[in-house]
């Protein structure tokens, strides 16, 4: 993996809710062509961290810079995909996908061109005039992708995008996402609580643990790209997965010991 320039720079980031310190001392750089997986147990604040990076939530210490610009609110060129999909039920697929473009005041001709392109890209061709309630969860998230991609962002933030989707569809969508990312490689931060997903998607896996959470480990994933189902079978994948598991589970074992000293 060639060294690439840092697009996202996070230094000394910390956030608290009142007296509860959610995470602290987060230092991370994300390259301009890189997928970084953020992995951690439930409640470790990874979702909060992602929102802080996006500028949706204020942070209390440190700073986040994207392409040199300080983040205090969502910046253009950054797009987010949500676990809850966040599609507007009263808009059709096409209108939902066009949302970001409309807000950016893109000319109508541009919208007319781009929307069908991205709808087809995510595999929703033919469903342009459907409403979200008519689509399955997987299809709704595809729409969510299209909406984020339509603005052609340099940074994609994924908040457990497959968390609300059934296992089979999840597998399909993981490879879909990799395929799409491959067509226009840029920066992506992928939050998940699944070890397999973190290893499959990322160039690096950032492990967030502790109370308050900090980055406890960074594991480089040297699996070749483009990744496919074969990658899942490879022995290197299994090794990396075990490595990540061992690092994560450390905490759990210790906690078990504390709870059952006998």
């Amino acid at each position: 993996m060639s060294a690439n320039a840092a697009r996202i720079t996070i230094s000394g980031l910390g956030k608290s809710y009142g007296s509860l310190n959610v995470f602290r001392d987060i230092n991370l750089q994300v390259g301009d062509i890189e997928i970084v997986s953020i992995l951690g147990p439930s409640g470790c604040g990874k979702t909060t961290l992602l929102r802080a990076i996006d500028g949706l939530l204020p942070y209390d210490e440190g700073e986040v810079r994207i392409e040199g610009q300080l983040v205090r609110e969502p910046l253009p060129g950054v797009a987010m995909v949500f676990q809850h999909f966040g599609l507007f039920p009263w808009k059709t697929v096409a209108r939902n996908v066009a949302y970001g473009l409309e807000l950016a005041r893109a000319p109508k001709a541009e919208i007319r061109e781009k929307v069908p392109y991205f709808i087809e890209l995510v595999g929703l061709k033919g469903f342009e005039d459907c409403y979200p309630y008519e689509l399955s969860g997987g299809m709704q998230q595809r729409c969510g992708f299209a909406r984020a991609l339509a603005t052609e962002p340099n940074v994609l933030l994924m908040d457990e995008p497959f968390g609300a989707i059934d296992a089979q569809t999840r597998e399909i969508l993981q490879f879909e996402l990799l395929r799409i990312w491959n067509m226009r490689r840029t920066s992506m931060v992928f939050v998940t609580h699944s070890i397999e997903e973190a290893v499959l998607m990322g160039d690096r896996v950032i492990i967030l643990k502790g109370r308050p959470s900090t980055i406890s480990d960074v594991i480089a994933i040297d699996l070749p790209r483009p990744r496919s189902r074969e990658t899942l079978q490879s022995p290197r994948f299994a090794q990396l997965r075990e490595q990540v598991w061992a690092t994560l589970v450390d905490d759990v074992k210790r906690a078990e010991f504390v709870l059952n000293p006998a």
Binding site: L56, E73, A79, G86, P89, W90, L103, P132, Y133
Partner: protein, 306 residues
């Protein structure tokens, strides 16, 4: 498919027919101050049948039983209307002609007065109710501040305020509008409040993430989301506003349909009373159906979200 459609329609017709039959038969049993049939003795057809049925039992029907529908038509004063129209239309154009025709008909004049009152009050209630409701959706603190008061006022009979309005503001047009307004406002507010409460923060989060302007937040999210709740509120508001309309016409200065109701009842003209009741019910039913139609056409996505 066609067979199925006619099946359902024929059931609706059967139901209408059965009800009308029961009404007709009941009407012939009582004197004209107590109840009136649909068609009655003014209609040769119905009269003949009724006499024939009475004849089967060896009786005759002596007194007249004025029917509701003939009464409706006579209140409409169709012939006078036509005369009045043609009198004026020639010189002053047909809009003036229509106005004169409406005035010549007691019924139409009453209905148009009532509708004016109704629409004014309802429109004001809708304006304020929808706007306030949407503001509560956008500003949770506003919602928290107001919600219990709205709930309380929703459960309070606005009719109890009529004596105050009468004493303070009088009994002309605008006090009546106030009555209709108060009757209609709280159902609308109550339902848009429901919408405001249920607005998912996720939607606002998405708009933030895509850097939406305030204006777009309203047009993309707040308004489309709360609109269906507003429509439910509108339906309830229409029902209550009708009550307010008739109540203010009866209890404040007599006018419109309320006046027709009272004057017919004072003359012991049951057919007239029933005719007026029918008109106002048909008005209400039409309005409700229109709102439902609008809902089904434009707000299909609602069913999925609930």
């Amino acid at each position: 498919m066609n067979a199925l459609m006619s099946h359902r329609w024929s059931q609706v017709l059967l139901s209408i027919f059965t009800g009308l039959m029961i009404w007709e038969i009941a009407g012939w049993q009582f004197n004209s101050a107590f109840f009136a049939p649909v068609l009655g003795s003014d209609t040769p057809f119905a009269n003949a049948i009724a006499q024939w049925i009475a004849g089967l039992f060896g009786k005759t029907i002596a007194e007249p039983h004025p029917g509701t529908v003939p009464k409706l038509i006579s209140m409409l004063a169709a012939a006078d209307m036509r005369e009045a129209f043609w009198e004026v239309a020639g010189e002053q154009g047909w809009i003036a002609g229509v106005q004169r025709a409406v005035e010549a008909s007691t019924l139409l004049k009453a209905v148009s007065e009532s509708i004016m009152l109704f629409i004014t009050g309802l429109a004001l209630a809708l304006l304020i109710g929808l706007f306030l409701g949407m503001a509560m959706a956008r500003l949770p603190n506003l919602r928290i501040a107001l919600e219990h008061y709205i709930l309380a006022l929703y459960s309070t009979p606005m009719a109890a305020l009529i004596p105050f309005i009468l004493a303070i503001f009088g009994f002309e047009f605008w006090p009546k509008v106030l009555v209709v307004f108060l009757f209609a406002l709280f159902p609308i507010l109550y339902n848009t409040l429901e919408g405001a409460r249920s607005l998912k923060p996720e939607y606002v989060e998405v708009s933030k993430a895509f850097r939406s302007s305030e204006w777009r937040l309203w047009t993309d999210i707040i308004i489309p989301y709360t609109l269906p709740f507003g429509l439910t509120g509108l339906r309830q508001g229409i029902a209550r506003a009708l009550v307010g309309m008739v109540a203010s016409e009866i209890l404040l200065n007599p006018a419109g349909i309320g006046d027709v109701l009272v004057s017919r009842s004072q003359a012991f003209d049951m057919a007239g009373v029933l005719a007026a009741i029918t008109i106002v019910t048909v008005l209400g039913a039409t309005l409700m159906a229109s709102v439902r139609g609008f809902e089904n056409r434009y707000v299909k996505w609602r069913n999925a979200v609930r």
